[in-house]
């Protein structure tokens, strides 16, 4: 069998934007020959040429015809497409080209960070990346799973890796949804070394799957000398997963939240999603219960009608009442509604204020047992009240000096 000497990567065509198509044809001799046309030829032609030649040098490619059709791809995309074309020619090559880590991408996260809204971005679609953070979701998910065609999984891995290094998500938590295991284990190589904050693990059905991820993450962290914590958000999407929810939620100390995914779940139990959601009531409640029992956040499924903001609002109010603390979005327009509705209500804030004040008074008087009216207040109640207050202050619906303002 003769060895492949030509491979390509990326997208071309009249509808393609912010992406490029790169074809590399390797030859036995002769210099690098570059044929390229670009929508931004006059503005960035020189930079693109320089970038391609630098990439050739980096990978030690000396004899090839390279064709580039560019529709305004940013440098992180061009690099990912070039590397992919080359790796499709040489699947055994281990060498990577890592764009410089943006100095703004070094921020960390915490286990109990707010995760009200998380915006899904299709992993192989670079045009959505640069502006996603501007819409201020609590988290941005670069998706390697369902939004990526099976034949483009390798493309998405490189693009997501480059995005994690270069794209500023403006403070949103940096999340990646990996593929189902075992493929998902490979995905970790492309994200763990690049300051991913939360790994979303789809279709989890056992604690062992979480353990496998934990082991591999630990190993990668050691190899790459990564100190900060990386958290997991298992997603329950099947009947079996629902049955095993607590086992999964408590499988790792790095689990920060447990999410439910209803599209797959309803298919699994042989029905479809209805507006009322009666078919998934048990599953959702069970996920909430398992999460709370394990001491982590419960996160609801995505809301898929991007045009109906009223229905979205109602769905958030319902989710909050069930005990969920966050919801998925597939369009930036959904973020504001979700963020706002998950905020504490005026009543909740008033109650929280009373609890915090009562607790502080009791503490200053050295009283061990705190009560408000006829009700005892214990530590988790105080903790929740403090959290409510923080949420309200962070979102400017309560003055930071509220204790003294009355």
């Amino acid at each position: 069998m003769s060895k492949l000497n030509k491979a390509s990567a990326g997208k071309k065509g009249p509808k393609v934007r912010s992406d490029c198509f790169i074809e590399i044809e390797e030859r036995k001799s002769g210099a690098i020959k570059l044929n390229f046309k670009s929508k931004v030829q006059s503005m960035y032609g020189t930079q693109i040429e320089d970038q391609i030649f630098n990439l050739c040098r980096h990978f030690g490619l000396r004899h090839a015809i390279i064709s580039v059709e560019d529709a305004g791809a940013l440098p992180f995309t061009i690099a990912a497409r070039f590397e992919l074309a080359l790796k499709r020619l040489h699947p055994d090559w281990k060498c990577e080209y890592l764009p410089e880590l943006n100095s703004k991408n070094k921020y960390r996260t915490t286990k109990d960070k707010l995760r009200r809204s998380r915006l899904y971005l299709p992993g192989n679609e670079p045009k959505f990346y640069p502006n996603a953070g501007l819409h201020q979701p609590d988290g941005i998910i670069l998706d390697l799973e369902d939004s990526v065609a099976p034949t483009e999984k390798d493309a998405a891995q490189l693009l997501v890796r480059n995005a994690l290094r270069t794209i500023d998500f403006y403070g949103s938590e940096r999340m990646v949804r990996i593929n189902q295991l075992p493929k998902g284990l490979d995905d970790l190589d492309y994200i763990v070394p690049h300051n991913v904050h939360v790994i979303l693990i789809p279709k989890v059905e056992s604690a062992d799957q979480i353990k496998q991820i934990e082991t591999k993450v630990k190993e990668l962290k050691k190899n790459f000398k990564i100190k900060n914590d990386i958290y997991f958000m298992p997603i329950i999407e099947s009947a079996l997963g629902v049955e095993k929810a607590f086992e999964i939620a408590s499988a790792s100390k790095f689990n920060c939240s447990l999410a439910v995914g209803l599209e797959d779940y309803t298919a699994d139990i042989g029905t479809q999603r209805s507006n009322e959601g009666t078919e998934s009531f048990m599953a959702r409640s069970k996920v909430v219960n398992a999460a709370k029992a394990a001491g982590i956040q419960a996160i609801d499924t995505v809301f898929s009608d991007v045009n109906d903001m009223k229905a979205l609002k109602n769905s958030v109010i319902e989710a909050k009442q069930l005990g969920f603390e966050g919801k998925g979005c597939i369009h930036p327009r959904q973020i504001n509604v979700i963020n706002k509705e998950f905020l504490p209500t005026e009543e909740e804030i008033e109650k929280a204020k009373k609890i915090v004040i009562a607790f502080e008074e009791a503490k200053s008087k050295g009283i061990g047992v705190v009560s408000l009216g006829s009700k005892m207040i214990d530590a988790p109640v105080v903790k929740r009240a403090e959290r409510t207050i923080k949420l309200a202050v962070d979102n400017k619906i309560l003055q930071p000096n509220w204790k003294y303002s009355n």
Partner: protein, 518 residues
């Protein structure tokens, strides 16, 4: 060609197509003296007392009007991209063997790429008006014989009124007209709303021809063009494609980034107090602007605020505001959709205006400066707030100026633009073509934040306690360059070959457009 540096530091020719031109002197620095153009005296003895001015064909009307080589022929652009008449007009001119026409449209559209063959064969000498799409490309490649002259809508009126451009024959597309030449745009199968852009032409042209596909008995009510200014009336089958003349419905943008910009604009109106009882604003028909209008409407309703007037480009969304009592009037410059046409026809508070009332710089005032705020677009803005609407960053002519320059005189001029498109920065160090001096541009609203012109200390103060993402324009510029992988190269143009000039609202020359090197 002799070039001089004007007050904006741009090199411009002193002679354009054989006429002496004045370089830009600065904003509000040039005040001409003298008298306006003087149309010749006519006598009704020369016109049929029956009032019937119809002739059989456009060709015959052109012959009667004395068409000959080198004349200036004007058209209006209310039929937009559905215009078929202009193409037929030049087919007729070609068949008469007439050459070297100066075409003086109020704007051109991609449908006019039909005319490229007449530029090639010498029927048309050059175009003075916006050159969009294929015509812009043609001119940018240096293929047009004369220099393109780009004027604002107000500048076009000014140039005719001041006698800078003498129109020999005006050809006025009229969706409805009577045999006397009274004409309106609010009725007929090709209804386009109003005919304001043809006002100067009807008043000042040596000969005026009304062409209609809906000839009705006298009188045509309401007459937007007065038959007393018209020489001949021609009936034809069709002026154009109604679907492209006005859209059925104008579409609000679905782009999340544009929606974000629209949100910020509406929030800016609210937080700076522009949105107050009795205020006025102008917003165009672009997707971002429509989203802004919808958003502002909700805010006005919530606070029970009513505008005194809104300037259009009218669309369904402005019409709804009028009908729901959120504004007393729409003062309309062009109607973009069927709801706009209907409203103008039926609602006396939906008023048709012209470049004379709205924009003309050489009049006793105009409406543009009275607006509390305008929301406009741009292809480029530089770090000194100078803006470009005419050319693309690769140097090619892309758009006309429209009413854009005229609108810069509002009390608060806002450019609502993305900070970059694909890999094309919109915020740049220096604009490719200067169309609007930065001193008139107050606020840049992008998805990456809002930059306020440092000259506007009042606005900077007004936003101090707001939640608006206020940044300097330089910060946004730096961020965009980082994202795009460095500063974009300047377009490769031949600095010795000018293909068009950009006029300022007072008729002086603001900038030159150069031939693009292939």
């Amino acid at each position: 060609m002799k070039l001089v540096k004007n007050a904006a530091g741009r090199k411009v020719p002193t002679v354009v197509n054989g006429f002496k031109s004045i370089p830009f002197k600065g904003v509000n620095k040039y005040k001409p003296t003298g008298v306006k153009a003087k149309p010749k005296i006519n006598s009704c003895i020369d016109y049929p007392s029956s009032g019937d001015k119809t002739v059989r064909s456009l060709k015959e009307a052109l012959k009667k009007a004395g068409l000959k080589d080198g004349m200036t022929i004007s058209t209006h652009h209310h039929l937009r991209n559905g215009d078929v008449l202009t193409n037929k007009l030049f087919d007729a001119i070609k068949s008469l063997g007439v050459k070297n026409i100066r075409w003086f449209p109020s704007a051109s559209f991609p449908c006019h790429s039909h005319l490229i063959k007449y530029l090639d064969d010498g029927t048309i000498h050059h175009i003075e008006g916006s050159m969009n799409g294929p015509l812009g490309r043609y001119a940018s490649e240096g293929k047009m014989k004369g220099l393109g002259v780009l004027r604002s809508h107000g500048g076009r009126y000014q140039s005719v009124q001041d006698g800078e451009v003498k129109i020999d024959i005006a050809v006025i597309a009229a969706p409805t007209a009577d045999p006397f030449g009274n004409a309106t745009g609010v009725r007929g199968k090709s209804a386009c709303g109003l005919l304001g852009f043809a006002l100067a032409d009807s008043e000042y042209a040596e000969k005026s021809i009304v062409v209609t596909d809906n000839l009705i008995p006298f009188p045509c009510i309401p007459w937007q063009i007065q038959g007393n200014n018209i020489d001949y009336v021609v009936e034809i089958d069709s002026l154009g494609d109604p679907k492209k003349i006005v859209s059925g419905t104008t579409q609000v943008t679905k782009s999340p980034d544009r929606l974000l910009i629209a949100d910020l604009v509406a929030q800016f109106f609210e937080e700076t107090g522009i949105m107050k009882d009795g205020f006025s604003f102008q917003a165009g028909a672009g997707g971002t602007n429509l989203a802004f209008a919808l958003n502002l409407k909700e805010k006005m309703k919530a606070k029970e605020i009513k505008a005194r007037f809104i300037r259009g480009g009218s669309t369904k969304y402005l019409v709804e505001m009028l009908e729901e009592g959120l504004t007393d009037y729409i003062l309309d410059g062009q109607t973009f959709d069927l709801d706009g046409v209907r409203s103008m026809r039926e609602n006396p508070n939906h008023v048709n205006t012209s470049p004379f009332t709205s924009y003309n710089f050489h009049g006793k005032g105009n409406f543009a400066s009275m607006l509390d705020a305008v929301v406009l677009g741009a292809t480029e803005v530089d770090i000194n707030f100078n803006a470009n609407v005419a050319s693309h960053s690769d140097g090619y002519l892309l758009h006309g100026i429209g009413g854009w320059q005229n609108c810069l005189f509002s009390k608060c001029t806002i450019l609502a633009i993305p900070s970059f498109r694909d890999r094309i920065p919109v915020i740049v160090d220096e604009v490719t073509t200067l169309c609007g001096p930065g001193e008139l541009i107050d606020v840049i609203i992008t998805e990456r934040g809002i930059a306020i012109n440092p000259k506007r200390k009042d606005l900077l103060k007004a936003v101090k306690k707001s939640n608006l993402p206020i940044r300097t324009i330089k910060e946004i510029y730096d961020e965009v360059n980082d994202l795009c992988g460095g500063k974009p190269a300047k377009p490769k143009v031949d600095k010795n070959t000018i293909i068009a000039v950009i006029k300022w609202v007072d008729g002086t020359i603001l900038d030159s457009v150069y031939k693009v090197k292939k």
